[in-house]
């Protein structure tokens, strides 16, 4: 490759990624020489805002490919990057002024790790080559392992990080094993080439394609925490500091879903047909339906028994991942839009809920559900905001969460063939989820207050909560705003 080719690429399209990379380097240097955590925080926030400005400038830009599809810019990557950046921004705001004793004790700083993880996520959503996809995935994962274990004097954190890294390695191994089948069948790592190769593949080899499909899929369920790679979730969520938990449940998960969409929808929907003229995707995706069903059931039922808020939200997040698998099973032209909208809604409501949980954990030094008792008397606004987020998580009308579920539901019914069973399970488990979400409401409104001291809420945290509440409400009342934005 000569210099001319190299320069002919539209490197400007990578401005958001470069911004994050440079900010990460600056923040790490700052940490090395000055070690001011507050400064790191503001630098990171500015970096992300800058990246968002660059990203916004690319709205409605024509698709671009750099370095033979190792970096692609298209509609999908644009919208998912938006979620990743926005989610990380909200989380950084959440940590900016609050002081966590256990994080303070540690010399190391998490800001550049968070930025590195974000960069990994951004690479994942904007690559069409298995090698770079995998590299991005590992960047995201390895940064996450360290982020979880950052509070090194906390037993839970150590345990969580250890479990995370072991389960994660296992999942990586499985993923790579599956990917090697795909490479073996097609001889290329480029997703578009794979798709082309697959379309002319010898029917005798198709069972192997199915095997590659299934094994890769199972490996990747680790990132989105669905069955069978879901068991790490409660331990890791409990061990990680609350903002990190929010990051894992929103940003990391969004990247994971896009990865699934990229690999499977791009590579497996073009085969000539296995039996009855089904593509490998159509032939094999049914098992993901089973996974979705089990995930929804396990997430929602086990959540009933949790008293630790972070574990409860871990199971809740497993359950939501289960809902999100449905559009993949019932693949149609609107699946992508549905998943994107749901992740957007999930970002608002989940980060909002975690922000409030973060405040309460800081104030009470406990993670038990009892920290919510009497919240309405102590801080009505906080209680109302939490009510909004919980209503959205539970899928009550007038919230973004409702629209998200409604889209998934309609998608499952209007797909061909219609997935009545999945839709029914989704409705049933949603009803079950009311129990544990509303249990928190009961704590807030009907239980006597545990302490009468006023709750200290840092200003920047109000900002996070306000943005999340506005997002939850606005996209719940006017969902077309987001959906029109999506279909440029």
């Amino acid at each position: 490759m000569d210099l001319e080719t190299l320069l002919s690429f539209q490197w400007g399209m990578m401005a958001p990624e470069f911004t994050i990379l440079i900010t990460g380097v600056i923040v790490s240097l700052q940490d090395l020489f000055y070690g001011k955590k507050r400064l790191s925080n503001w630098l990171a926030i500015i970096g992300i805002l800058l990246a968002m400005v660059f990203l916004s400038a690319q709205y409605q830009h024509v698709p671009v490919s750099i370095l033979y599809d190792t970096y692609v810019f298209d509609q999908v990557s644009f919208f998912f990057k938006y979620i990743l950046l926005m989610g990380t921004l909200l989380i950084l705001l959440m940590t900016s002024t609050s002081r966590d004793e256990e994080t303070e004790k540690v010399r190391g700083d998490f800001h550049y790790l968070l930025l590195a993880a974000l960069l990994g996520g951004m690479i994942v959503v904007s690559s069409a080559d298995i090698i770079t996809l995998y590299a991005g995935l590992e960047l995201l994962s390895i940064s996450s392992y360290i982020l979880v274990g950052l509070r090194k004097y906390n037993r839970n954190a150590n345990e969580g990080a250890m479990k995370y890294i072991i389960t994660g390695s296992l999942a990586s191994a499985v993923t790579l094993f599956g990917l090697s089948y795909i490479y073996g069948l097609t001889g290329t790592t480029n997703l578009y080439d794979i798709s082309r190769e697959m379309s002319v593949i010898d029917t005798q080899l198709e069972p192997l394609a199915v095997l590659g499909f299934v094994i890769t899929f199972v490996g990747l369920t680790f990132k989105i925490s669905t069955v069978p790679f879901h068991m790490w979730t409660p331990d890791v969520y409990q061990g990680a500091a609350t903002p990190i938990t929010a990051f894992l449940s929103v940003v990391s998960k969004a990247a994971g879903f896009l990865l699934l969409i990229r690999i499977f929808v791009a590579a497996f929907t073009t085969e000539p047909g296995l039996s009855d003229d089904l593509t490998v995707y159509e032939y094999a995706i049914g098992f993901a339906g089973v996974l979705a069903a089990i995930t929804m059931i396990i997430g929602n039922t086990v959540a009933l028994r949790q008293r630790n808020m972070k574990r409860l939200f871990a199971y809740s997040s497993i359950a939501h991942a289960g809902y999100l698998l449905i559009p993949l099973v019932a693949l149609s032209a609107f699946s992508l839009e549905t998943i994107w909208f749901y992740l957007l809604a999930y970002m608002w409501m989940n980060i909002g809920a975690f922000a409030i949980i973060h405040v309460l954990i800081q104030n009470h030094q406990t993670e038990d559900i009892s920290m919510f008792s009497g919240l309405y008397q102590r801080s009505p606004v906080l209680a109302l905001m939490m009510t909004l987020f919980l209503a959205s998580l539970a899928g009550i009308p007038a919230t973004a969460g409702f629209i998200g579920k409604f889209n998934i539901f309609l998608g499952a019914l209007s797909a061909d063939p219609a997935h009545y069973v999945l839709a029914a399970i989704m409705i049933g488990t949603t009803v079950i989820s009311y129990v544990y979400y509303f249990n928190i409401l009961v704590q807030m409104y009907s239980r006597p207050k545990a302490e009468s001291s006023p709750i200290q809420v840092p200003k920047a945290l109000w900002l996070t909560i306000a943005i999340c509440a506005a997002g939850t409400l606005v996209f719940g009342l006017f969902p077309n705003l987001a959906l029109q934005f999506f279909s440029w």
Partner: protein, 613 residues
């Protein structure tokens, strides 16, 4: 003005937002703020009504949610029926906001009260201008939420909490019917817009059986909301809420939403003979059934509650018999006089701190304004000539006659008779008699004012029957006809009404007068008095006991059949939860094993399915 109609519900919403977020900080200002914002809504409504004289139909819609090729819309639909409802709701709501200022007095949670009241007003206004059934359904649920919050407003009262829950659950049963009907309708017509549904029916796109089914399902929703038999039981219990709430929600507006639903989707009902018959029969049965119960209740508000149920039955009966105008007309007049009756009852409760009519025993007579306004309300509901109730009831009788429903007409007439009896029983017992208890406090102007205004409306609203018919005909076309009774029917109706009053006079008032003599002399009045007891006990032994028997039956069915099923379901869910969390041993080896076993199982499945083994 009409193009800004969609602003009307927003003002109460703002009021709700401000009040709920400010907590208790606003104190007394909360009431004034709510009144101000509701007042703006009312003025806007007046403006819209003025425009409606020239414009018969106005629709503004925005795309709200696009899923594939299906587009759901939000917006506002203003036609004569909706305009009328807007007026009734915003007018009564404004008066009740003002009244509440006095009634809630120094209540600690006053701002929550006004917040909920504003929420309800917002929902109700949004409901009556929905251009499609989806928006309608959302506001319908929101109205239910407002009602739930307000019934249970006195949190410390266990009975209030129970009543709130009961209201929520009972109406929920109806809502389920409505939702299913809605989904069916959408499935059949691919739209939920009222206007497009009517077009689809006109073009006969739906099978007759399907129309009947959908109409009945929608009617089930109306049955729940409007307290029709057999889902009526929540309404008397809902009287646990503050009295102004009963006046607004459980007399004038929300309970009329069911009637409105039937009226708003009337072409659908007209297309199905069976649906109409069911509506009219349920309505007639509810009317007479609730009236009989009303005869034996001793709680001031409960009598009024049963009376509401009975009058709502009237409206349904009218709609079922093709009396579209008559039903809507009665809805309007009823909103005025029933709100008036409730407000007057509220004043009695406010001043005397008692709502048991036998204990009050005439003490109400010390409250002059209350007494006279209550009398006007009572006369109006009894169908006393020239008061509003007489006109709207007569319209209903005429519609029944026109439709040839002689049996139902007889039921309606008899109910009218019972109505006069129980209403005057109430009036005599509360406002005539010894009246030993002096009021503990005077009724302030902000409570008397709304009562007087409503009394004026209760008197004059009846004269606008034919204008109303023209008005409604402007938007709805052929079925908006006001039927006129032959002279004999008018006489009969008047006779029935006066007969009931006279009978009540003899039973309840004369008994009071002669009570002392009776003790001494065993005069001939004894028989009459005895008969009075006879009637009471007759009803107690039949209606109440059979109701109770049915309720026990249902109670046991619920206890053993439903709860066993529920226990099974929740047990299963809990068992899965327990198993699932037991699997969560905390050992990372288990996690790995589960993941790899899962993978192995899936691969094995595909190997077997593909036949490679």
């Amino acid at each position: 003005m009409i193009s800004f109609a969609w602003l009307i519900p927003l003002f109460p919403l703002i009021s709700f937002m401000v009040l709920i977020l400010s907590g208790k900080k606003l104190k007394n200002a909360s009431g004034y703020l709510a009144i101000l914002l509701t007042g703006i809504s009312f003025l806007l409504t007046i403006g819209v009504l003025l425009d409606l004289r020239t414009i018969t139909e106005f629709e503004v819609i925005w795309p709200w949610l696009t899923v594939g090729e299906i587009e759901f819309q939000a917006g506002a639909l203003i036609n004569p029926l909706n305009g009328l409802m807007l007026f009734v709701v915003s007018f009564v709501s404004l008066l009740i906001h003002i009244y509440s200022l006095g009634y809630m007095g120094e209540d600690d949670r006053k701002s929550s009260y006004f917040a909920y009241l504003s929420l309800f007003t917002f929902a109700m206004l949004g409901l009556v201008m929905s251009p499609n059934l989806l928006q309608f359904y959302m506001f319908w649920e929101l109205v239910g939420l407002g009602s739930f919050l307000l019934i249970g407003f006195y949190l410390y009262k266990e009975s209030a909490k129970k009543a709130a829950r009961k209201a929520f659950i009972m109406t929920r049963i109806g809502d389920a019917g409505l939702l299913i009907g809605l989904i069916l309708l959408f499935w059949q017509t691919k739209t939920l817009s009222f206007l497009e549904i009517f077009q689809a029916i006109e073009q006969q796109k739906l099978a007759p059986g399907m129309i009947t089914l959908i109409a009945i399902l929608l009617f089930i929703g109306a049955v729940g909301k409007s307290g029709q038999f057999p889902l009526h039981t929540w309404l008397p219990d809902a009287m646990e809420g503050p009295t102004p709430v009963s006046a607004l929600i459980h007399a004038a507006t929300m309970v009329a939403a069911g009637v409105y639903l039937v009226a708003a989707t009337y072409p659908l009902f007209l297309a199905s003979e069976w649906a109409l018959i069911i509506v009219s029969v349920i309505g007639a049965f509810t009317a007479i059934f609730a009236a009989t119960i009303g005869l034996v209740q001793d709680d001031l508000k409960r009598v009024l509650a049963y009376s509401t149920v009975s009058q709502l039955g009237y409206m349904m009966l009218a709609l079922g018999a093709g009396g579209y105008v008559a039903g809507v007309f009665h809805l309007t007049t009823h909103a005025f006089f029933k709100a008036l009756l409730f407000l007057a009852a509220g004043s009695v409760i406010f001043a005397l701190k008692n709502q048991h009519i036998k204990q009050i025993a005439g003490s109400g007579k010390h409250l002059a304004v209350t007494k006279w306004t209550f009398l006007i309300g009572t006369l109006a509901i009894s169908g006393f000539p020239l008061l509003s109730g007489s006109f709207s009831k007569e319209a209903i009788f005429a519609a029944l006659l026109e439709d040839g429903q002689y049996g139902l007409l007889a039921v309606a007439l008899f109910t009218a008779f019972l109505t006069s009896v129980y209403m005057f029983r109430l009036y005599f017992l509360v406002f005539h008699g010894k009246g030993e208890d002096k009021p503990e406090r005077t009724v302030p102007l902000c409570m008397n004012g709304p009562m007087v205004i409503l009394a004026v409306f209760a008197v004059i609203a009846g004269f606008f029957g034919s204008q109303l018919a023209d008005w409604l005909a402007g938007g709805q076309g052929s079925f908006a006809v006001l039927h006129h009774s032959p002279t004999w029917l008018i006489f009969l109706a008047t006779l029935v009404s006066l007969g009931g009053i006279v009978l009540a006079y003899y039973i309840y008032l004369r008994k009071q007068i002669n009570q002392e003599e009776w003790k001494e002399t065993f005069s001939s009045t004894y028989t009459i008095l005895y008969n009075k007891y006879f009637i009471d006990e007759f009803y107690e032994n039949t209606i109440l006991y059979s109701t109770r028997a049915i309720s026990y039956l249902i109670f046991y069915i619920e206890k053993y059949v439903v709860e066993t099923a529920m226990a099974f379901v929740s047990g299963t869910i809990k068992a899965i939860g327990t198993r699932g969390s037991r699997l969560q041993t905390g050992q990372v080896q288990t996690y790995g094993t589960v993941a790899l076993l899962g993978l192995a199982a899936i691969v094995l499945f595909f190997v077997v399915k593909g036949g490679y083994m």
